[in-house]
């Protein structure tokens, strides 16, 4: 029963559902629904799919997340970065506008959902940690630039293609002659309006005495206003006949039952992108969920979140959608509007279903330029190049990871960019730990403490070298220690004993064990003893399972002071300052 509650969180909050929660959830649902209609159409456009796909992707996935997810406020659906990744992945296997394209998007959602489910069931959510914060920040920033650029063609009313910045810009410049001036005017005005709404409307409304929540809702409804005004203009002046591209016919229907294509070619081509989309979507979603949960001292379970998002994506795959995840802006609106339980999501789904059934004829004359404008304004808020400055000041390794991720995402595409960022941050981490800090220490006079001989005035002994290793020992730094000890011992002829102080060593892997054995043999060949001190319990347990301690050409001392007392008696001298 306990585990049923874990896998079906709805059983937990559903039992305690009351009238107050119902009314709060309903209000939140209405607000979110209004905001989601233009957003869903826009992200479908970004993903290269027909507009209704965006609405379908927001109905069943929301309901499934409400059943399986653990966040109270997360709103699941199409988001900008995942839509871009979808366009990039599906564009490689099918032509936009064909039936194959839509099927490939379903397959991508299916694979992504399956992968998330697997991670959740096997509790492998930690894999998402391989995406470091700088890599994510760099990737989101570069994606924002790519997405905004990809929408320029709709603003200009030209056709263009490409998945990297140079390709897109080149293609736009090439076709600049086809610019449709009416489209451009609509696009520029809509963009300017939306920027103004985002930046100035809320303070203006507050000054006019509008209560904060309403001001917030009106601000978020900016895109709806832009949609209404531009749609009416196109209809009134017949601008579609003058070359303004419009959304056109959108079927009036509930989400259809669809089947993802599962041919081995298609699966093979989309598997890696699906894994990437899953992990990036999960990272975005879990960050939002944890931030919102903390505000109410609730918690989310990352492994159960994987199952919730997996279910949502599987739902998208069978109901005409495309890959989805928990979005930042819609979740914040949901939270701010007072959603108390995932039931708010279910009501939102209901609202969208009504829209899909009855409201789609209203967007027939909606210009694509308006949708492009809402996308541009939304994603440019993601672009934050300050991460470059912040990481530069903090750590050059992190800076290198951000810079490489941004550059490669822009110049070589989203998949290459994020994969290189991950590989680089792992390599840089391994490099850092490959040369651990090792301090030669001596006794602080009058105490039992040992400190770095380079920083402190300490007692030493010419026959004894004590090295404090400030890192776990494993294969990447095992040989470093061998080299270090060999070079330290060959430079001092009087050395008779080496002590390794293990107070900061949390692990000794098999490679490091073999290095310690090699060090032991070599020191024995030189007539030098090897000792250990302050070995932690778990490390000692491991060492006892090997023959190292039997063969050790020296002793293991509980404390470094014991080692000092035993090994230096006749030779102690005062250190030079």
């Amino acid at each position: 029963m306990q585990s049923l509650y874990r896998y079906l969180p709805i059983l937990d909050w559903g039992r305690r559902y009351d009238r107050a929660a119902l009314s709060n959830d309903m209000i939140a649902a209405v607000i979110v629904t209004i905001m989601l209609i233009p957003q869903s159409l826009a992200y479908a456009l970004l993903a290269g799919l027909p507009p209704e796909a965006g609405i379908y992707a927001s109905i069943v996935p929301i309901i499934l997340y409400a059943v399986f997810g653990t966040s109270r406020a997360l709103a699941v659906g199409p988001v900008a970065v995942v839509s871009l990744l979808t366009a990039s992945a599906v564009g490689q296997v099918a032509e936009q506008g064909t039936a194959g394209y839509a099927v490939a998007a379903l397959t991508l959602a299916f694979l992504s959902g399956g992968f998330l489910m697997l991670l959740g069931v096997f509790r492998l959510g930690f894999l998402a940690n391989f995406l470091s914060h700088p890599v994510i920040a760099g990737f989101i920033t570069a994606s924002g630039i790519l997405i905004a650029t990809s929408q320029l063609k709709h603003i200009l009313g030209v056709s263009a293609h490409g998945h990297t910045l140079p390709q897109m810009l080149g293609s736009i410049v090439e076709n600049l002659g086809q610019t449709n001036w009416i489209t451009l005017i609509i696009g520029v005005l809509a963009t300017a309006f939306l920027f103004w709404v985002r930046k100035n409307l809320k303070p203006a409304l507050r000054r006019m005495g509008v209560p904060p929540l309403l001001a917030d809702v009106l601000t978020k409804a900016g895109p709806v206003a832009a949609v209404v005004v531009t749609t009416l203009s196109v209809w009134a002046f017949g601008l579609d006949a003058r070359g303004v591209k419009i959304v056109g016919e959108v079927p009036q229907s509930l989400p259809p039952l669809t089947l993802p294509g599962l041919s081995s070619d298609l699966v093979g081509a989309l598997l890696v992108p699906a894994i990437l989309i899953s992990i990036i979507g999960f990272v975005e979603s879990i960050s939002v969920a944890q931030t919102l949960a903390a505000k109410k001292r609730q918690r989310v379970d990352p492994d159960q979140e994987l199952i919730g998002l997996g279910a949502a994506n599987l739902g998208a795959a069978f109901t005409g959608g495309f890959p989805v995840t928990g979005g930042f802006s819609r979740s914040v609106v949901n939270f701010d509007a007072g959603a108390e339980t995932p039931a708010a999501g279910i009501y939102t789904a209901g609202g969208l279903a009504i829209a899909a059934l009855f409201l789609t004829p209203l967007v027939y004359f909606l210009p694509k330029a308006t949708l492009a404008a809402t996308i541009i304004v939304a994603v440019l808020s993601l672009v934050d190049l300050s991460i470059l400055k912040k990481t530069w000041g903090y750590s050059r390794a992190d800076f290198a990871a951000v810079a490489a991720t941004i550059l490669l995402t822009l110049l070589a595409g989203v998949e290459t960019g994020v994969a290189s960022g991950v590989a680089l941050s792992i390599l840089l981490h391994l490099y850092k730990t490959s040369r651990p800090h090792v301090a030669e220490v001596g006794l602080v006079p009058g105490t039992q403490h040992f400190r770095n001989i380079l920083r402190h005035k300490v007692e030493t002994d010419p026959t004894l070298v004590t090295l404090r290793v400030d890192e776990s020992l494993y294969f990447v730094n095992a040989r470093f220690l061998e080299d270090l000890i060999q070079s330290r011992v060959t430079e001092g002829c009087k050395i008779r004993n080496v002590v390794l102080m293990f107070s900061a060593v949390n692990e000794v892997d098999f490679s490091a064990l073999e290095s310690l054995e090699a060090i032991n043999h070599r020191l024995r060949d030189m007539g030098v003893g090897l000792h250990l001190s302050e070995v932690k319990g778990p490390v000692m347990d491991r060492l006892k399972q090997s023959h190292f301690l039997d063969e050790l050409n020296g002793q293991v001392f509980l404390s470094q002071y014991d080692a000092w007392k035993t090994l230096t008696k006749p030779n102690r001298v005062q250190a030079a300052e």
Copy 2:
């Protein structure tokens, strides 16, 4: 001048060269030369090249290593594992026996030499550390099995091909009908004789009163005896006319001047194998060099070794050779025979040059089966499956890395095997550090020490949680800490302060910094303070470069005891036992 000595170690030992060293080096050179002649022919056969290539690869490379290398005893030339890797890489771009095959082998040596040089000049020798000891051990064992299997065809006198164990065995079984019985008899007798020599000759000679060094040399000369006897047999009984495959004509010549092929196709196809060969060769060589150096309290410089091995491979590329490295058995013989300086290598090269000029007609009738027997006996000593047992007892992660390396090397080939082993050991390490040990600690009564509340009887306070983090914080475990703190704090309603004890944290990267900021914000939202204690100097320096400390919803305490005194005053209670 100092740096000239560093890059040209010959200037250092050359100045002090005297008559005693000369005579010792000469004796060692004669012994090594005799051993190297059959070995060179055999490894050329293994690499799929004509026999003279093995001798050429042992002349100029030895001289160049003597000039640039830092080991006094290392003997450079073709070795079994690198020859196998050569056959595998070159076999993918050219047909064995063609001119293109020989050129590709030169290209491989050139690329490998260039890559080693680059690593040496940029002091990137640490990259070799990514090969963990278990991966190397597994790879060498699997390679030994593959090499021995690849030589079975010469023992049976059948033709066979393939680069994986199933391919080779399948191919041999298919052609078993063509077995040449005389070849088989020669091969089996030679193999049995060599095994007997290796196992029993030395003790037998010692019992007969032969001095140890001479006994050792006679044992190592076993392959020479096998070569002489089988060559004479083939010549005397005309066995080559009865289908026994022989070495045949070998040109009488000094190493020729050759040029590696540098077409972009060839370079592209061989670049990755060349990198692999370089790193594996370097790892083998540096282990031998360090072991021998330690016996005389000398040291080798790993970065200069890269330059020495790089020069040797470039030399091989321009003089009709193939990739080389420092070999274990030849180096040990050189060392045991009393070589004092790299000059011994130069004399060995002279001996081999004389052999190349005058002795090659003597091996005309040498059966290939004899060479195959010497290879089999040599490489089976590399096969050591005990590594599986040893790592199983010590650590399951290391066991998984060994097992995967062995299986994939045998079943999918050498490159896949070693690459998978490296990837798996990195992933397992990241996994281990992704869930660091975090202990909740309390005060040991009557002291200022804090210990794990699960293991010790300590004082705690319901309003205070102190977590000791036993690992550096970086992107792989940053989110783990977020989850841990969030779940710990949400389960206790009285908690008002969280202290993170940083005594074992050697690094906080940018991802971990952002996680700490997120933890700080979330705890503030919950009305809980976040404090740090015992932060190390370098970590504190880093944190001061960020805004974290300004925004910290709490304090940084020098010692955990200070934190305890400040935060618990009114609430202290005795812990339940």
